[in-house]
């Protein structure tokens, strides 16, 4: 039933029983909703279908691109390899077969998550990817958490002060920050804290000290937007009627901001924050390269430059799955945060 029908229905009911003051019955006052569980399942299935299509598309594209730009047998044979060796390798790996046959084999194997072995060191490609996963995950998680812990309160605070100089300074600062590309932030940090001050290590994962700069760099991909959206949403929410209602009931500034405005502001920001987790995954590739962080992103970049296509395929596969996990998590967060989305849509 659409909203309009619902409303008409209500009006009709009311007019039929005009004289009855207590006619507001349960059915007239309620709006139908779909159970959360059902929506959750629907969302997951829809995203899963999208993911399958995406994986098929991306890996096909990669397959042909990589095959057309380089000869895998030459890479395997190395610089010393002669013609005979090349032939041997081609036969062994099936590179002598027509491309479409190779593609078919590739797809069949991908179905069972077999991406083959690395051309560089003969290790299982997927295994290599999984090996790097925890390192990348640590970085993304630290950056994401740090970002939310800083951006949400800061954005809320800026947004709650529409006419003070603090807010103006703050938003100017955010604006400038937003203009600086993430890799520049990384390079500046290295220059200041590693080269000049010698406080922090600039490469690799050597414990908590070495997490700071990569995490800041990665967070800077996401933080300015989050701060801006939260602050815009909070400042809008603070002008809403329900804020006036709460104020008329004696609510103080903190209640208004943290208990009334922020939750509404978070609604609009959830989509952005969720979508940006996938930016973070993208940003982590750049960050890992800058800081020589031994993660998935750096593995991907190295494999692309060496045309190690089994590893490239495996890495892209895993990254895509994570991007989709983050998108799906965003959808689900919406269902739980926004009670209005639980409402039936005809």
């Amino acid at each position: 039933m659409t909203d309009r029908e619902e409303k008409n229905n209500r009006i009709n009911v009311d007019q039929d029983e005009k004289e009855d003051a207590n006619l507001v019955t349960a059915s007239a006052g309620d709006v139908e909703t779909i159970p959360v569980a059902q929506q959750t399942v629907r969302t997951i299935l829809r995203r899963l279908a999208e993911l399958v299509f995406l994986l098929l598309f991306v890996s096909t594209l990669l397959f042909f691109l990589l095959r057309l730009t380089g000869d895998p047998a030459a890479i395997l044979a190395g610089e010393t390899g002669d013609q005979e060796q090349l032939e041997l390798i081609r036969k062994q790996y099936g590179f002598d077969k027509p491309l479409y046959v190779q593609y078919g084999v590739f797809l069949m194997k991908m179905l069972v998550l077999d991406f083959g072995t690395s051309l560089a060191n003969a290790q299982d490609a997927l295994g290599l990817v999984f090996e790097r996963l925890p390192t990348s995950f640590t970085l993304v998680l630290i950056a994401f958490t740090a970002n939310l812990i800083i951006s949400i309160p800061l954005g809320a605070w800026l947004g709650s002060r529409p006419d003070r100089t603090g807010r103006k300074l703050g938003s100017t600062g955010v604006f400038i920050l937003q203009g600086i590309p993430g890799y520049i932030t990384g390079l500046i940090l290295i220059q200041v804290f590693s080269v000049e001050l010698r406080w922090l290590p600039s490469i690799g994962n050597q414990g908590p000290e070495s997490w700071i700069m990569p995490a800041i760099t990665l967070a800077s991909f996401q933080a300015p937007q989050v701060i801006r959206v939260i602050s815009a949403n909070v400042s809008e929410a603070m002008r809403e009627d329900y804020i006036r209602t709460a104020r008329a009931n004696g609510a103080g500034f903190n209640t208004l901001l943290w208990r009334h405005a922020l939750k509404n502001a978070m609604l609009g920001a959830t989509a952005l924050i969720g979508a940006q987790v996938s930016f973070l995954i993208g940003g982590s590739i750049i960050t890992e390269v800058i800081f020589a962080w031994p993660g998935l992103g750096r593995l991907l970049v190295t494999s692309v430059t060496t045309l190690d296509f089994p590893v490239v395929q495996a890495a892209v596969f895993v990254i895509s799955v994570f991007v989709y996990l983050s998108i799906t998590a965003t959808d689900l967060a919406f269902i739980f945060i926004d009670p209005r989305l639980r409402r039936q849509r005809a």
Binding site: D14, V31, Y242, A248, G250, A251, K263
Partner: protein, 337 residues
């Protein structure tokens, strides 16, 4: 004689109860940009509200009804503020309270019902938590006691299966139910005075009638200020009525006095086009011309540009004074028409 003594000297609509709320010469001013003269949205309003009495504030859009109501709670929107006058709740002056004291008055001594129930409740918090928040703020009760109070409050305003509604979110309720929730919220801490600003305007006619019934039944003994565009609503609910024009009260009296024999030309205008057969629900009808805006600096009677009876005297502002045994701000109050 001052305005105050004028009002005090008057026996209010047969009610000799104690004065609960006393508003004296309140001016609410909005500064205007570029050094223009500031605009007084409320321009010296005085009235008294006695226990158990319902006062209707009527007048055209922009006449300052809402600003008068908001000034009582210290909720005049920035950059506006009360620059003159005083507001007393019983013996206590409340217009100059520090903000933390004022918050104890809001929702506790004065309860307000706003116009739009669709936007007046927080969409992402359930009804129960919004009610409990106010209960816990003003009463020393536990969470579970507050929930019980919230349930009773909903039940009390005629919300069916009230216990389940505590869990409901605003969008799950119809407009009529939401307005009942808003009323429950305003009443939940048993405020001494209830202020309802166009509480039924946003609702369709039949729901409006139900909410009015609720006011009549549940709030017949409440001390209340009811703001409305609708003379019919005022006639049904109010004991007394104050007609506002351009930030001032231009006429006040018992509902019978004002409706059956309006003295101010503006009040007459408001009532004149009411069809006889529908006398129970007369509506405000447009009077030719526009009320003065912030741009117009009116020296004399603010209604003079639209008044049929303007004379030379009207260049000087008429105060709200007892004239012809009625309180009216006009040099030439009309007799029975």
């Amino acid at each position: 004689m001052t305005l105050q003594t004028e009002i005090e000297s008057r026996v209010s609509s047969g009610l000799d109860n104690e004065v609960i709320l006393s508003v004296q010469d309140v001016v609410v001013q909005f500064p205007r940009p570029k050094k223009k003269t500031p605009f007084n949205a409320v321009n010296g309003v005085s009235f008294e509200l006695r226990k158990g009495e319902t006062l209707g504030l009527v007048g055209e859009s922009g006449s300052g009804k809402s600003m008068t109501a908001l000034s009582l709670l210290g909720l005049v929107p920035i950059p506006g503020k009360i620059i003159e006058g005083s507001i007393n709740l019983r013996e206590r002056r409340i217009d100059n309270l520090p903000i933390n004291m004022l918050r104890k008055v809001r929702g506790n001594d004065l309860g307000m019902v706003f116009q739009d129930p669709m936007t007046g409740l927080n969409p992402v918090r359930n009804i129960g938590s919004q009610l409990c928040e106010s209960v816990i703020r003003h009463q020393k009760v536990s969470k579970s006691e507050a929930t019980e109070i919230a349930f009773k409050a909903l039940d009390d305003v005629g919300i069916p299966s009230a216990r389940d509604r505590l869990e409901a979110f605003p969008h799950e309720l119809s407009g009529g139910l939401r307005q009942r929730v808003m009323i429950a919220l305003a009443l939940i801490n048993h405020p001494e005075v209830i202020i309802a600003d166009e509480a039924t305007t946003a609702l369709d006619a039949t729901i409006q009638a139900q909410i009015l019934d609720l006011f009549r039944e549940r709030l017949s003994n409440a001390t209340m200020i009811l703001i409305t565009h609708d003379m019919g609503v005022a006639a049904e609910i109010c004991d007394r009525i104050a007609v506002m024009y351009a930030g001032r009260i231009v006429e006040t009296g018992t509902i019978e006095e004002v409706l059956s024999s309006p003295r101010h030309p503006y009040t007459m205008g408001l009532l004149s086009a009411v069809p006889r057969f529908d006398i129970r629900r007369p509506k405000l009808v447009p009077i030719p011309g526009q009320p003065p805006t912030a741009e117009d600096i009116v020296q004399g009677c603010a209604f003079s540009s639209r008044c049929k009876f303007t004379q030379e005297n009207c260049a000087e502002r008429p105060l709200l004074k007892k004239r012809d045994n009625r309180l009216v701000a006009c040099w030439f109050p009309k007799g029975e028409v």
